[in-house]
Amino acid sequence: MISVKKLLAIAIISAISTTVVNAASNEALVKEGRKVFVTKKQGNCLACHAVQGDPSIPQTGDIGPKLANLDAYPKAYLFEKIWDPNKTVPNSLMPPMGRSHKITKHQIDALVAYLQATTKSK
């Protein structure tokens, strides 16, 4: 028989470790997202956008808005926006990088993770 105490301890430990693992994987995702953002052959997002909270990105363009407070938006909304912005804004200047298969769904998830973590409103 497992005691209640032991059960509780197991539950707590597993909860903590899950959080730790999640945090670690999210950190990796954020890092990957930044790479997608700045790499010319991937997202190349810096061509048009600067990022609030990440001033170290060199030579950002100023065609699109400086990205800020994106944690206020649902992940799914940001995903759609990157997949094909023409859906929400017809004739958007922004290229449909997902729809065009220039970046993968995973890379878009990474971008969203990076942008939400970096542009967090305080």
């Binding site: 061509a47 048009c48 065609i63 808005p65 004739n91 200047l93 290229p95």
Partner: protein
């Protein structure tokens, strides 16, 4: 009485013809005026009109780096017309313009006799003609570009045509461009098919394409005066006045079509072929938009 009637009929026929002739470019003129107007307003005072035209450009940068107000002819300078850092950089480069040697080569080629003893001058007795190109040839029913004219001159004289876009052809065109400096661009739309060619070029300019789903318009009208990465985007108005252009990236001269084909490819589209119908139509439309501007090519660009 009969004489009078004939006279009236004749006069009315002539005037009808004139009205029709004027009609072929009616749409194009409307487009052109709105196009010029857009650029003049956009670059009249970027600081005061930031909200309308440059919402994402930092105010500090607008105040420090932007040259304004721009007048009609100022747009001949492409990205250097409005972006001070580029202008300063290129002022230094053009102390010894890299296009000078290729232009000299072009002059030599122009005056060097073909095997039959004639020269290009047999086709271009007055080399100051670039302002009329590309033109719509109503007899051939097609757009004739200056590159085509150079090659056709060669063929008439028993020479092989040159490769389009760069090399010797671009050098000869550059010589013609220098000779045409100061002439005002004067593109005409002489008939209905010419108007159709203009419309086709206009569509190519405004319709998004390629895997980036962007258009010439989005970068060189809407975003003209902004930066893509660190690069200043050039206004489409006046874009053809500087051609052929010496690009540092190319390490040599390139014709208008070479530049346009590269731009189309940058949208993620297949690269159109030199002298293909769509590329000529795009060149025809774009050059028409700069009607009335003085030529001053070639110039140097990144």
């Amino acid at each position: 009485m009969l004489k009078k009637l004939i006279k009236i009929v004749a006069v009315s026929m002539i005037s009808t013809t004139i009205v029709f002739a004027a009609n072929f470019n009616a749409q194009a003129e409307k487009d052109r005026k709105a196009f010029v107007d857009y650029f003049l307003k956009k670059f009249e005072n970027p600081v005061a009109n930031r909200d309308k035209y440059f919402p994402y450009v930092p105010l500090k940068e607008l105040k420090k780096d932007y040259i304004y107000p721009l007048k009609f002819q100022d747009f001949q300078d492409g990205p250097l017309s409005w972006y001070r850092p580029s202008k300063e950089q290129f002022a230094e480069i053009n102390d010894f313009p890299p296009y000078e040697i290729p232009v000299d080569d072009g002059e030599e080629l122009f005056n060097k006799p073909f095997a039959n003893g004639k020269t290009y001058a047999s086709c271009f007795p007055n080399p100051a003609i670039k302002q009329n190109y590309p033109y719509y040839d109503v007899h051939r029913d097609e757009i004739v570009t200056i590159g085509m004219a150079v090659n056709e001159c060669r063929v008439i004289n028993g020479e092989k045509p040159l490769k389009y876009g760069k090399g010797d052809l671009a050098k000869v065109v550059a010589y013609l461009a220098v000779k045409s400096r100061g002439k005002k661009i004067d593109i005409k739309i002489p008939n209905e098919n010419a108007a159709k060619a203009y419309e086709a070029g206009k569509k190519l300019f405004y319709k998004q394409r390629g895997y980036l789903a962007i258009s010439c318009n989005e970068c060189h009208v809407k975003s003209a005066g902004k930066r893509i990465r660190a690069e200043a985007l050039s206004p489409a108005l006046g874009a053809t006045t500087q051609m052929p252009v010496y690009r540092i990236k190319w390490g040599g001269l390139g014709t208008l079509q070479r530049r346009l084909a590269g731009c189309v490819k940058d949208t993620g589209s297949e690269k159109p072929k030199m002298q293909s119908k769509p590329l000529k139509e795009l060149a025809y439309f774009l050059t028409y938009m700069s009607n009335g501007m003085k030529l001053f090519g070639p110039d140097t660009r990144k």
